[in-house]
Subunit: 340 residues, 2 copies
Amino acid sequence: MTEITNIALDAMGGDNAPSEMVKGAVDAVRKEPAMKVFLVGQKEVIEKELAKYQFQKEQIEVIPASEVIETAEPPVNAIRRKKDSSIVVGMKMVKAGKADAFVSAGSSGAILVGGQTLVGRIKGVERPPLASLVPTKKGVSLLLDCGANVDARSSHLVQFAKMGSIYMEHVLGVKNPKVGIVNIGAEEEKGNALVKETFPLLKELSEINFTGSVEAREIPHGQVDVVVCEAFSGNIILKLYEGVGAVLISKVKEGLMSSLRSKLGALLIKPALKQTLKAFDASEYGGAPLLGLNGLVVKTHGSAKAKEVSNTLLQCVTFKKQKINEKIRECIQTDAVSAE
Amino acid sequence: MTEITNIALDAMGGDNAPSEMVKGAVDAVRKEPAMKVFLVGQKEVIEKELAKYQFQKEQIEVIPASEVIETAEPPVNAIRRKKDSSIVVGMKMVKAGKADAFVSAGSSGAILVGGQTLVGRIKGVERPPLASLVPTKKGVSLLLDCGANVDARSSHLVQFAKMGSIYMEHVLGVKNPKVGIVNIGAEEEKGNALVKETFPLLKELSEINFTGSVEAREIPHGQVDVVVCEAFSGNIILKLYEGVGAVLISKVKEGLMSSLRSKLGALLIKPALKQTLKAFDASEYGGAPLLGLNGLVVKTHGSAKAKEVSNTLLQCVTFKKQKINEKIRECIQTDAVSAE
C-alpha cells in the first residue's frame, strides 16, 4: 500500500490567498492520489473557494484557524500571540505528526521563527537554512541559506553544504552533486573571514563533492549544483536574480515595441520567448524548504499562484518518499558522534 | 586656457592589451583635446600599435615600463617586487603629480594594493571603495564597495555613502542622489549586525539623501542612485548582474533559433534587441574608480575593449573638472573636525 503524504497548507498566506492556495491544492491532489492536503485557515472562505472544484473529497480537509499573521508583523510576537493563526495551527500539526509537511506563502519571518520554535530542529542541526532552487543555464541549482540565518558561523555553513547535497541528490536526482561556496574570487586564499574559515572545513568533508569557490557570475551558468553561503549573501543572490531578470525582460519587451519592424518580429518570436522565460521563472520550481527541521516546512513566494503551490505540494511527496529528514539526521548525527 | 587632464594608461593590463588600450587612447584624445594620455608599458609593442593611427602627437606619450603584473600574481608581492611594471610606474606618476589619473584593465588586486600603498589615501579616508556603475531600468546606479574591502566596518560604509553621493552628483549629474544600504528587507530592524549598526549612522547624516534599505531585487529597478554595501556583497551583486544578464540573453538567443518562425522574427527584432542589450552592458559606462585616493585610480573590466577604455579616459576629465577629490577631502575632513 502506498503511504499517504499529509500536508498542511496555509490557506491564508500570500498575496493570492485563499483562492490560489485552494486551487493549487485541488490541482495537486488531482495529480497525486497518495496525498492529503489540510487547508488551514478561515473555514467559511476556504469552503466557498473549494465549492468551485471537483476533487476526491477524502483528499482535502479544512482545518479551522481564525487568525491571520500579516507580513508586516514582528514574527516572534506573532507566533507567540496568534495561537489560532493558520501558521501556528499548521506547524503544530507537523509537530504532532498529523502532517508530514507545512507549506505557506505567508510571512517569511513567521515561518522561520515558527519552524524553529514550533516544529523544532533535528537533533544536531545548529541552524535550519532556507534553501531555494535557482534557474541556471543547465537546469537548476540549490542556493542555501537564502534568508534564514544572518551572521552565520562556519559550522553552520558546513551543515548547509551537507543538507543541500542530500536534497539535490535525493529530491532533484542529481548524482554526486557539486558543492561550491560563494566567494569573490576563485582562489582559496580569497574571501572574507567567514569564507576563509569555512573553506578548509568543506575541503575536508569526504561525504560531499566540494569543488571550491564559486563566483556569483558563475552561479547562473550552473557551475555547481549546491551553492553555499550565509543568509545575507544568499538573500541578495536570490532577490537580484529576480530583479535583473525582471528588468532585462521588461527592457527587451520595451525594445520590441519600439518600431513597426520589431513589433512584427515580436509576434513571430512570442511562443519561443515565452518558453525561454518560463525556464527562467523561479515559480516553476516550487517553494523553498527550510531544511533540518523535524518535519518539512516550505515557504513559497508571497506572490505564489496555483501552479507554484501545486508544484510545492508535489515536492513534499518526493521529500517524504526519499526520507530526506532521515538522511539528514543520519548525516548530522554521524558527525556528532565522530566529534565526541 | 583649458586645463589639460593627464592620464597614465596601463597599456599592458587586461585581456586585450596592448591593442585595445592603444586604440582606446587614440579614440579618446580625438574626442577630447584637453587630454594627454601616457601609455605605460613595453615601448616597442606600444609604438608598433600606435603607428597604426593618426592623432595629435603631443596628446599621447609612451612611458617605458618593462615588467607586467599578471592577474594570478599575489598582489602585495607583485607591487613590491615589480618596480618597473606598468601598474607601479603609472601609479607613481599619479603620486608625483605627473598624472591626474591612472587607468588599468590589469590585476584588480594589484590595483587595489597599489592604489593604497603607492597613490595613498586622502587624509581621513579609512578605506577607499571600488565604485562601479550598474545599469538599471532608469539609467545607472553607483554600487560601492564592489570589491576593495571585505569585512568592512560601519564607519567605512558611512564614508562610502558620502563619497558615492559626491560622485553621482558631480560626475553623473544626478541632483540630490538617493542613497540606500543593501539589506535583506525594507524595514529598519532587518539585516545583519553590520547593517543594523550602519543604518542609524546613515540616517543621521544631513549631507546625503539617505532613503533607507534597498533590497537586491530593487537595485536593477533603480530604486536608489547610490547603493552602499561592504565589498563581499558588492562583488556578489556586480558579478551576478553580469552572470544573470549573460545567461538570460544566451537563453533568449537560443530560444530565437528554435523554429523557423522565431528565426524570421529574430531577424526583424535584431536592431531593437541590440539597442536594448547595449543599454544593459556595463562596459558602456566606463571603469570603476577607486574613490578616496590622492589622485584618481580607475579599474576597467579585464575584458575591456577600446570603447570602454575611451569612455573611462573621458570620465577622468569630468572627474578632474568637477574637482571630485577636493570635494571628498572637504566632506571627510569636515567630519574629522566635527568629531573632535
